[in-house]
């Protein structure tokens, strides 16, 4: 007997719509101030970024402390594009966009080429043929030489590809920007900027993750922490490379185009993508990597590929979140992306529950709103107590509910439905083990 019930997406959609229209209505009728309206947007943006980290850590078990780095990359790269549209700092209104897209194309082309060359196979062949008479470190040096040459050649090709793509893209995009009416062109540029912010972050995540994901869990966390600090220091000195990023003085005059509608639309799209990714075979394999890497590998799961994939997609989420954030205040400062703020996504996902999308969304909104509301609630002269009370709350939540608010439970549409009877023979079905146990080993 199956219980008759609503499809699970209906209540979820209804809640989403209520929140969306509720905030719009409240703003239009003056129930919430412009300040609170911005807080809500930041809250959702923080959720987007945290969802990316939850994919990396909560669902795939890779302890990353460098999420804020990808957020920063997304923010700055998208801001460069939209600022260019308004101020033409690079000389033409779509110059930055063209360079960024061409650069990504070049990198992807180079990466694809390296993949096609099968360097690992080359290395294995050399190792096999020389291992009988060379020591291990000697073999490694012998391998290093051809690999270095090939990589150098590929980088050269990537630069050529970048220049070629730029030559094609630049006139096209400029013509597009000039040809369209201002309103349309603005939206097109904004969408492209958000997309580019996301893909830039994803690309960097891929490049960073490729070597670093081989490290053990804690070491990976520390290496990504190092990456985030490198991004932060790089941004502080960014005016040495691109003057308009202005380094430690902060980047100004970014168009403030982010609205509640844009934020929620992006959020809905990304949540949809993530939920469906997690329910695909790749997603299930990701979760299996979290549960037990060796067991997953012995079941034929390509662990390295899945780790890289989760890390890249997580970076994409952070980049998109950063892009939206950049256009909220129109001002970017490296201190927004320092290491202290870098713990925020981690705090959010642990509070919400590792491996729970619902929990991440709730905790993301909750943490941001809590921090900002403390500013309002606290009496005059006690504003400095904001970050004294916040860690106390954090400590209490952790001490009382160490698995997070939701654990691994989900609500509504996010809940993975039990597969239909015919898929799994009853005899092999076993009660699901709670997944929180796994995360205890993978910090």
């Amino acid at each position: 007997m199956r219980k008759l019930s609503l499809p699970s997406w209906i209540p979820t959609l209804i809640v989403g719509l209520i929140v969306f229209f509720g905030v719009l209505y409240a703003r239009d009728n003056g129930h919430i101030s412009a300040y609170r309206y911005q807080i809500f947007q930041i809250a959702v943006i923080a959720s987007i970024s945290a969802l990316g980290l939850n994919l990396i850590y909560g669902f795939n078990g890779q302890f990353s402390l460098g999420h804020i780095g990808f957020y920063a990359i997304g923010a700055y790269s998208s801001a460069l594009i939209t600022k260019d549209y308004q101020m033409a700092w690079s000389g033409s209104r779509a110059g930055a966009l063209a360079w960024m897209m061409a650069g990504q194309f070049g990198i992807i082309a180079g990466l694809a080429l390296i993949r096609m060359l099968r360097l690992d196979r080359l290395r294995r062949k050399i190792t096999q043929s020389t291992s009988s008479y060379l020591k291990e470190h000697e073999t490694r040096m012998v391998c290093l030489l051809p690999v270095l040459f090939i990589v150098a050649a590929v980088i050269g090709l990537g630069v050529v590809a970048t220049l070629g793509a730029h030559a094609l893209l630049d006139p096209g995009l400029n013509a597009l920007v000039e040809g369209l009416s201002d309103n349309v062109a603005r939206n097109v540029i904004f969408v492209l900027a958000i997309l580019n912010g996301g893909t830039m972050a994803a690309l960097v995540a891929y490049l960073v993750g490729l070597p670093l994901l081989r490290l053990g869990s804690d070491y990976f966390g520390i290496a990504t922490l190092g990456f985030a600090i490198m991004v932060f220091t790089g941004l502080q000195n960014s005016d040495m490379v691109i003057d308009t990023m202005r380094g430690a003085r902060g980047m100004v005059a970014i168009p403030t185009w982010t609205t509640w509608g844009w934020v929620m639309a992006t959020f809905a799209l990304l949540v949809f993508l993530m939920r469906n990714l997690l329910r695909s075979s790749h997603g299930r394999a990701m979760i299996s990597v979290r549960e037990d890497e060796i067991a997953a590998q012995s079941m034929g799961v390509d662990v390295n590929q899945l780790k890289t994939m989760a890390f890249t997609v997580g970076g994409l989420f952070a980049g998109v979140g950063g892009a939206l954030y950049a256009h909220l205040y129109g001002f970017l400062h490296p201190s927004t992306f320092n290491i202290i703020r870098g713990f925020d996504p981690l705090i959010i996902i642990v509070l919400g529950g590792l491996g729970s999308m619902t929990g991440t969304i709730l905790a993301g909104v909750g943490v941001v709103v809590l921090i900002e509301e403390l500013r309002v609630i606290l009496p005059q002269g006690f504003e400095d107590w904001r970050f004294v009370i916040y860690p106390i709350i954090l400590l209490l939540v952790m001490l009382l509910r160490s698995e997070g608010l939701m654990g691994t439970r989900e609500w509504g549409w996010f809940r993975t439905p039990v597969p239909p009877e015919r898929d799994i023979p009853l005899s092999t079905r076993q009660p699901a083990t709670p997944a929180t146990a796994a995360s205890s080993e993978d910090v």
Binding site: I222, M230, N237, S402
Partner: protein
């Protein structure tokens, strides 16, 4: 015959690469020495080692705690800060001299860290490890922002009054201050006593046993909770002394001053192989020296020093994933 030729030529190639690398390193050092003269270079190395000794005092706390409870104790840098402030109040307000001030700082940090351990980490010993990491971050925030309140330490930079006048000795052009001597002396003394505690005493044996296998240690009748508290206390005492020395060397203190030295020292501990005490020491010296060398020799070095430090971390990871002295992790199936 053919294989032999191939083998020899390949081996020659390998040693040629090594020779080239060694030559490059040597050439780099010679170029650095020639850039501003050998005196400047040696001065930079000495300053770097001095910084490294201070990092070592913090890094040891990180590495011991990690070795025993596998926790990245993010609050450690803030314990270091409390040490600096304690000595500031002792010296400036109550006119204490240097030795009692540093002892007081060590004592207060010890008490503080044991309290932190009991309140924030011990209840979570059986929870997922990430939970105690988050509480560590929470404790770190709390210490930073609570002490930044105006009635505690205040949110501004405070100029630290040194408890003794600075003397500078000129040794063949190299300037050595009594601060350097004191830092190196105190650090070495603390390190040797730490080594003594860990290698020669009963509690040290218990610490090593607990680090190796907690449940087995408990079965052998070791009071594991006590050992963990003792480890936190030892680490905090070292960090407290480090805080005082740091404040004497760079006499400006702030409640947020612990973040960056803390992170650097942590990275140094990881560089040396986290969990290993000699590793933490060597890693710290390496970290301090590169820090100062980057600042003195690289154009824009003072702005890029953190970037270089973490770049080195990542490069070391790529070559030796568990750090210089770290043992490869054996994965149990």
């Amino acid at each position: 015959m053919k294989v032999l030729i191939l083998k020899n030529s390949l081996r020659t190639l390998v040693w040629a690469i090594y020779a080239a690398l060694a030559f490059g390193l040597l050439w780099g050092i010679v170029a650095l020495v020639r850039m501003n003269g050998p005196i400047f270079f040696i001065q930079a190395i000495i300053d770097g080692l001095r910084l490294g000794f201070m990092y070592a005092l913090i890094a040891l706390g990180y590495t011991m705690v990690y070795g025993i409870v596998r926790l990245i104790n993010f609050a450690h840098g803030d314990v270091f800060m409390v040490g600096a402030f304690t000595s500031f109040y002792a010296i400036t307000r109550y006119n204490w001299s240097f030795v009692p001030a540093i002892l007081l700082a060590m004592l207060i940090c010890t008490v503080l860290n044991v309290v932190i351990e009991r309140v924030a980490y011990k209840p979570l010993r059986n929870a997922p490890r990430i939970a105690s990491l988050i509480t560590a971050i929470g404790v770190s925030f709390f210490l930073e922002y609570f002490t930044a309140l105006s009635f505690v330490f205040g949110p501004d930079f405070i100029t630290y009054r040194r408890p003794f006048p600075v003397e500078v000795w000129n040794v063949g052009g190299i300037l050595i201050t009594n601060i350097t001597v004191i830092i190196v002396g105190i650090t070495l003394a603390l390190l040797l006593s730490l080594q003594y505690i860990i290698r020669r005493t009963k509690i040290g044996k218990a610490m090593r046993a607990t680090a190796l296998d907690k449940s087995a240690a408990r079965l052998m009748g070791i009071n594991v909770d006590g050992v963990i508290s003792f480890t936190f206390a030892l680490g905090a005492a070292l960090a407290g002394a480090g805080g005082v020395l740091y404040a004497i060397a760079f006499p400006q203190i702030l409640t947020f001053m612990g973040i960056m030295p803390g992170l650097k020292a942590f990275v140094a501990a990881v560089l040396g192989g986290i969990g290993s005490i000699p590793g933490a020491f060597v890693g710290s010296l390496l970290m301090g020296t590169t820090d100062v060398l980057v600042v003195s020799f690289m154009p824009m070095g003072s702005r890029l020093r953190d970037l270089i430090a973490f770049l080195i971390l990542i490069l070391v990871f790529l070559i030796k994933p568990t750090g210089i002295f770290g043992e490869p992790q054996a994965e149990k199936v």
